[in-house]
Amino acid sequence: MAKLVDRPKADLVIRSYIPEVLRGLRVTSRHFWVNFLTRKNVVTIEYPEEKYPYPPRFRGQHRLMKREDDSVRCVACFLCATACPADCITIKAGERSDKNEKYPVSFEIDYIRCIFCGMCEEACPCDAIRLDSGDHKLPGYTREEEVLQKEDLLAKGGLSIAKQGGILQ
C-alpha cells in the first residue's frame, strides 16, 4: 500500500536558498581552512607529482622479459596473439642462431585495441610477457604512439626467474 508523504509547502525563507547556501559555505570553508592550515586528514594527493601505488595485481602496460644474456625471452609462439580477444598483438617471427631457434623480429601491441585482460600473460608458456609493470600506458597524440614496439616493451622488462618451457637448458 502506498504511503502518503506529507509535502509541506516551501516558505519564502526556503525558496530564497540563502540560509541553505550559507550553511553549505560554512561546511566548505571549515574543510578548506582546516586543510589549508593544518593539512590533517587530507584524502587527495597531488597527482601527477604524487601517485598512489597500484595494488600488486594491477594489470598495466605489458613488458617483455629477458634471458640471462639480455636477449628477449619470447620465442614467438603466437599463443598470446591467439589468446588475445582484442587481436592487438602482432608478431613477426625470425630465426636465431642459438639453440632457442625462434624469436620475435617485431612484437607490437596496439594499445588502442588492448583491453588489459591479461589473457596473453596467462597463455605465455615462457613467462615472456607480463602486465605487472605497474604503469598504465600513457595517452599519445597519434595512433602510431599508441602502438608499442618490442624495444619499448623490453625497456621495462627484467630477468624472469621462471624456467623457460620446452627449451633444454
Binding site: 609462439c77 639453440k99 608458456p125 620446452g166 633444454l168
Partner: protein, 516 residues
C-alpha cells in the same frame, strides 16, 4: 570376399584390405602415425594396435589383412593400455618444443597425446639429444629430436618421388632420419616429406616461422603450374598466402604436389599491375574504359586484329574474351600464348606449363573459332592486339608487335614490359584470386577458387570485358563466372552424359568432374 567383425559390426571387404581400412570405412577411429593410404605399410609405430581373436597379443591393424571370421576389438582396456604405452615410449625423448614448432596445431602427436595418453612423463633422466634445425635440402628443415621414426618420409622419397634420398641412421632411441653424407634432399617432390611427417621433424623452409597453422584459412583450389592441375589448398592469413598444400584427389594427384607448384605463389607477390595504364601511365579504371571505347571506334573495319589468349585463363574468362572478340571491328584472328613446355616426369609434372590448354581448346571448339600459333599470327603485323594473361613466352616479340600496332590492349596481373608497352593495360587477378574452372590435360574439370582479394582495383578478365561491353555494345556479356559457366558448358557433357551446366559452378565437387 572376407567378412569380419569389428567391435561387433559385421563388414565385408575386398580381399587384401587392411583392418585399418575396414575400420576407416566403418568410421571407427584408429590412431596412427606410420600408416598412410598413399604409401606402403611399415607397421613400425604400433599406434594402431587392436585386439584380434587370432592372436594372444594386440596386432597392428595397418598391417593385418582382413580375413574371414576375424573378430577385432578396438575399444578394450588392453587396446587402450597399449596405445597409452606406445605413446609414452614415443614421447620418451621428444623435446616438447611445441611453442616453436611449425607443426603445432596440426600435429598428430599432439592430437593423439591428448586423446590417448594425457599423462605427465615418468622419464626422470636426461633425454637423448639429436641434431636440431638443420637444413637438409633447399626446401626442407630437419629437427631430429621431434622425429618419431615412422619412416613415412623415406617411403615418400622411395615410392612416390622415386628418389631414395633419405634414410635412418643409428639404432634404438638414437635413430633419426638423415640424408646420405654429402648429399641433400632435392627431388621435385621434396616438400611432400613435410606433408606426411606426422610431427614437426621435417618442415619446409618456405613456411618456417611464417604463421601458426591455426591462423590460416584454407581455400580449395587448383595448382596452375602445369597441365595436371593438382588439387591444392591455399592457406592464407590476413590476405596473404602462407603456403600451398596438396589436397587429396584420387583422379589427379592422389596426395602429392610438386615443389614448383607450391612455391609458384611467390611470382605474384611482387610486380603486380596495381592500376589501369594508358601508354604506360597510370589512369583511373573508368577513364581507361571510356578512352578504350573511343579508341576502339577508330579501328578500321578491315584492320588485322589479333587476340592472344592465355592457356592460364579460366574457361569462363576465355568464353567472355572470344565472345567480345567476335564483336570487334576488323578481321579478328586468335592465337594461344602461354609459357613454353618444360620439365616433365612420370609422376605428376607435365611438360605443358599451362593449366587450362585443354579447356581453352574446348571453348574455341564450342564457339567454332580457330586459333593460330602465336609466332605465325605475329608475323602478319596486326594493327590491333589484345593480350590476355601475363605469362606468355615470346614476350619481346609481342612487345615489338605492339609497338607497330595502332592499338594494343593488355589484361595482365603483372606489371612489366607488356603492360608498359600497351596503349591500355588493365590489372587482372593472379591465379590465386580468380574464380572459375580449369580443364586439365586428362579431361578433369576442376573449380578454381579465389583465396585472396587484391587491395587495389584489380578485376577478373570477365569483369573488365563486361564493363567494356556495356560502354561499347548494345548487348551486355555476362561477367559473372557462375553465369558464364552455365552458358559456356551448356553443350559440354560430363562422363556420365549429364550436361555440366546442370551442376552449375558450385556443383563441381572437390575432386572435379571427368569430361567425355
Amino acid at each position: 570376399m572376407p567378412t569380419l567383425k569389428i567391435d561387433g559390426i559385421e563388414i565385408t571387404v575386398e580381399p587384401g584390405t587392411r583392418i585399418i581400412e575396414a575400420c576407416d570405412r566403418l568410421g571407427i577411429d584408429i590412431p596412427r602415425f606410420c600408416y598412410h593410404p598413399g604409401l606402403s605399410v611399415a607397421a613400425n609405430c604400433r599406434m594402431c594396435l587392436v585386439e584380434s581373436n587370432r592372436s594372444p597379443k594386440p596386432v597392428p591393424s595397418c598391417y593385418e589383412m582382413a580375413v574371414d571370421g576375424l573378430e577385432i576389438q578396438t575399444k578394450t582396456q588392453k587396446v587402450i593400455d597399449a596405445r597409452r604405452a606406445v605413446l609414452e615410449y614415443i614421447l620418451l625423448n621428444h623435446p616438447i618444443d611445441c611453442p616453436i614448432c611449425d607443426k603445432a596445431g596440426e600435429c598428430d602427436l599432439q592430437d593423439l597425446y591428448f586423446a590417448h595418453n594425457y599423462q605427465p612423463s615418468r622419464h626422470a633422466f636426461a633425454k637423448f639429444h639429436k641434431p636440431k634445425a638443420r637444413q637438409i635440402g633447399p626446401q626442407i628443415m630437419a629437427d631430429s629430436e621431434r622425429c618419431i621414426n615412422c619412416t613415412r618420409c623415406i617411403r615418400v622419397c622411395d615410392e612416390i618421388a622415386k628418389a631414395p634420398q633419405l634414410h635412418q641412421v643409428n639404432r634404438g632411441g638414437r635413430t633419426y632420419i638423415d640424408v646420405f653424407p654429402g648429399t641433400e634432399i632435392d627431388h621435385p617432390y621434396s616438400m611432400c616429406v613435410s606433408d606426411v611427417c606426422p610431427v614437426g621433424a621435417l618442415t619446409t623452409k618456405d613456411f618456417r616461422f611464417k604463421c601458426r597453422v591455426w591462423f590460416t584459412n584454407g581455400t580449395q583450389s587448383v595448382c596452375g603450374e602445369c597441365s595436371r592441375g593438382c588439387s591444392i589448398r591455399i592457406d592464407t592469413y590476413r590476405n596473404e598466402i602462407q603456403r600451398i598444400m596438396p589436397r587429396e584427389n584420387p583422379t589427379v594427384n592422389q596426395f602429392w604436389a610438386c615443389d614448383a607448384g607450391r612455391l609458384a605463389y611467390h611470382n605474384y607477390e611482387t610486380d603486380r599491375l596495381q592500376s589501369a595504364k594508358a601508354n604506360g601511365q597510370p589512369v583511373a579504371s573508368d577513364a581507361a574504359i571510356t578512352q578504350l571505347a573511343t579508341a576502339l571506334d577508330s579501328v578500321a573495319s578491315g584492320a588485322r586484329v589479333l587476340v592472344v589468349l592465355s592457356p592460364s585463363m579460366t574457361n569462363e574468362a576465355a568464353w567472355a574474351a572470344i565472345k567480345v572478340g567476335q564483336k570487334l571491328k576488323g578481321m579478328v584472328r586468335y592465337a594461344i600464348g602461354g609459357r613454353e613446355a618444360g620439365f616433365k616426369d612420370d609422376i605428376l609434372i607435365c611438360a605443358d606449363k599451362a593449366p587450362n590448354r585443354a579447356g581453352l581448346a574446348l571453348v574455341l571448339k564450342t564457339l567454332g573459332v580457330e586459333a593460330v600459333p602465336l609466332s605465325a599470327a605475329l608475323a602478319g603485323s596486326p594493327q590491333a592486339i589484345y593480350i590476355f594473361g601475363d605469362d606468355h613466352h615470346l614476350e619481346d616479340v609481342l612487345v615489338k608487335a605492339m609497338d607497330g600496332a595502332q592499338l594494343s590492349v593488355v589484361f595482365s596481373a603483372k606489371d612489366g614490359p607488356l603492360a608498359n608497352a600497351a596503349s591500355f593495360a588493365f590489372p587482372t587477378m593472379s591465379p590465386y584470386e580468380i574464380d572459375g574452372t580449369w580443364l586439365n590435360e586428362f579431361g578433369i574439370l576442376q573449380r578454381v577458387r579465389p583465396a585472396l582479394t587484391p587491395t587495389w582495383d584489380a578485376r577478373p578478365i570477365e569483369k573488365w570485358l563486361g564493363a567494356l561491353t556495356t560502354r561499347l555494345l548494345d548487348e551486355q556479356i555476362a561477367d559473372d563466372p557462375a553465369e558464364l559457366f552455365v552458358t559456356a558448358m551448356s553443350s559440354v557433357n560430363a562422363l556420365d552424359g549429364t550436361p555440366l551446366a546442370a551442376s552449375g559452378l558450385d556443383g563441381i565437387g572437390p575432386f572435379g568432374i571427368a569430361l567425355k
